[in-house]
Symmetry: C2
Subunit: 387 residues, 2 copies
């Protein structure tokens, strides 16, 4: 019997050994980082070391790193009406792309009537001409765009978007949760004003994330209020061991990135070549730069929900898209925004690789696909329903 093959790294990655070691070393740190005794100072220094590691990783100032309970909280914290750059105008509205994560689609503390959605093209890339029109000559907006999409892996031209945003006196928040640790970037290279990150996508623990600001951003108001932690921008006793493990995961992920990315690109090329050999598989966003690890594909007539279960029975964990909606199967808003036909959206499957993915995993996945696609190949329009 084959062992399990986990190809759902975009949903959540297993802990990196370095993060596990950090947790095991530090979970006995009893102190509260706000306490001034030795135990408190030990806890404080762990949090600050992780903050430094994160700041170094994206070339930010450590004092502008706000630890949160994850990417969703970081995105919600970023989307604050009234944000401004020193000397600039406060953001009165929110402009996001149509393919953002649910936590950005929710709009943070902007009201629905303050929000505008920018369209994307057939490859899932933000339409910059439309964005210009949405921003030009209007009240200052906070623009929130993801660096790489969690479903397709498509990488946005964030530098170009930033120029458009800044030329109109607006601010740019970049949700880099899915891109972090997979492609290199700094806050300066992205020209982002705010940046969201998450630990568990890079091999850190679930339940830890961060919002990073550039130096001249003002007006971030805490969503979780009470104590003065995180310079008054995020109350609550810090998840000390989790934050320390995030720091360890960051160093491990960025250190391993060049080699891991190259390996994943090669494995994915073989995977996609094999997928396309059967049942007329279409790979989304194939024509544009993508994360090295992500494949979103579909086959006409396939039911993704059934296919996920069929793959699971073959020992392979794949996703029918974003896992962030509590198991509810809804058509992908990302593919809908890209203008993909409903029949193809219904069959969209995401395979996402990680640093532990091996040749044998790809073999096992393609073997399963050969079997499963064969069912389709017999012209059964209801796809894999019999599994």
């Amino acid at each position: 019997m084959n062992s399990r093959v986990y190809l759902d790294w975009n949903a959540t990655a297993p802990l990196r050994p370095q993060a596990r070691a950090a947790l095991a070393t530090h979970w006995n740190v009893a102190g509260n980082p706000s306490s001034i005794h030795e135990e408190g100072r030990a806890a404080r220094s762990l949090v600050e070391a992780a903050r430094d590691a994160l700041a170094r990783a994206v070339s930010a100032d450590a004092r502008n790193v706000i630890f949160t309970s994850g990417g969703t909280e970081a995105n919600g914290l970023a989307l604050t009406p009234g944000l401004f750059r020193k000397g600039g105008k406060p953001c009165e509205r929110l402009v996001i792309s149509a393919i953002e994560h649910a936590s950005v689609l929710a709009g943070g503390r902007f009201l629905p009537e303050q929000m505008t959605i920018a369209p994307v093209d057939g490859d899932g890339i933000v339409d910059r001409d439309a964005l210009r029109v949405l921003l030009h000559g209007k009240p200052a907006a906070l623009v929130s765009m993801m660096l790489a999409n969690n479903e397709t892996g498509a990488i946005q031209p964030i530098g170009e978007i930033a120029d458009i945003v800044h030329a109109t006196g607006c601010l740019l928040h970049v949700d880099a949760v899915q891109a972090f640790g997979k492609i290199p970037f700094t806050l300066g290279e992205l020209k982002a004003d705010l940046l969201s990150l998450s630990a568990h996508k890079i091999g850190g623990p679930k339940g830890v994330g961060a919002l990073v600001l550039t130096n001249d951003i003002e007006g971030v108001a805490a969503t979780i209020r009470g104590g003065g932690q995180e310079r008054g921008r995020r109350a609550g006793t810090e998840n000390v061991a989790g934050i320390a493990a995030f720091g360890a995961a960051i160093e491990a992920a960025l250190g391993g990135m060049p080699a891991e990315s190259e390996a994943m690109v090669n494995l994915r090329a073989r995977l996609e070549s094999g997928l396309k050999r059967h049942a007329g598989a279409v790979i989304f966003s194939e024509a544009v730069p993508r994360l090295p690890n992500t494949t979103l594909f579909s086959v006409p007539g396939l039911s993704a929900e059934t296919a996920v279960i069929a793959f699971d029975l073959e020992g392979i964990a794949v996703s029918s898209g974003s896992a962030c909606s509590s198991g509810k199967v809804q058509p992908s808003h990302v593919l809908a925004a890209m203008g993909v036909a409903p029949g193809l959206i219904r069959g969209a499957l995401r395979l996402s690789l990680g640093w532990q993915t091996q040749d044998a995993d790809i073999d096992q996945c393609l073997e399963a696909w050969r079997k499963l696609s064969g069912v389709l190949g017999r012209g059964n329009e209801t796809g894999l329903e019999r599994f």
Copy 2:
């Protein structure tokens, strides 16, 4: 040389071995609980087992347990304008006591002008007559009162408070973060409509908490929004291993509570008797029911900040009060509300015990106090400043 003595368990407790074991067993669960494959289902079942453990612990329905990133977030989530009991009126205002935690003082999503503060007496117990006046014949309020105070340990007569609250058609939120695992209670015994809990106060990990609702409470609106996790009441990938460790800590804490409480009561009696032997120590809330582990005391002329450092140099971790304000030393709002003289407030020291506290720890603490109080005994009005 003596080993360190940790007497700051109310700030944060070390991990219980059972919580550590749960973390070590489950941190490799790669799956996202929202994913439908085997790895996702394994993660889901860990979260649901912890939810069941928490529900059993306070006799609530598991579906009414909302996991959060801690007590502060749970309190903020609870304080939602518009909350109502099925068939009842929505809460238009917030009434809290003067001694609540900073996260309740912040008011959640109520505006400052919607908030009213109920006074406490000299022992730190809520003035029920004043509460009646604040609620009677006025628009429906959400009342938020802590079960036990984090600084003094004083236990509120929550049952009596609940009767007053419910007689006026209002709802009661109880912040039980500090009481959980130290005194027995259920949701029904407290007659609370909402209840906040935190993992790290009972030997679970930092960064995990919960809000618990009774069955007929409606209108809880997520503060962290996006995915549909926690029945749409708290978005973001669940802290799976942390939640599992919370569940393990709950079972260990409640199982150990009778014996641990008795041991702590006895150790504290010896501690307080020793403290009072020197320098005229006054113990706050001594005349009312208190948590078994908490001592807040002061000596005229003492500087608590200096004393914390002096104790620390003697190997003993104590607190000058709540640790939730990022190390900022501010006069205790709890003691101020109790009408304590500023000179005594300035010297207030909190010693809080835990399940690992031993006779030898009390000995070492009292030996340090004998030395330190001696400095005061020489009539030095500036207290321990020379340390």
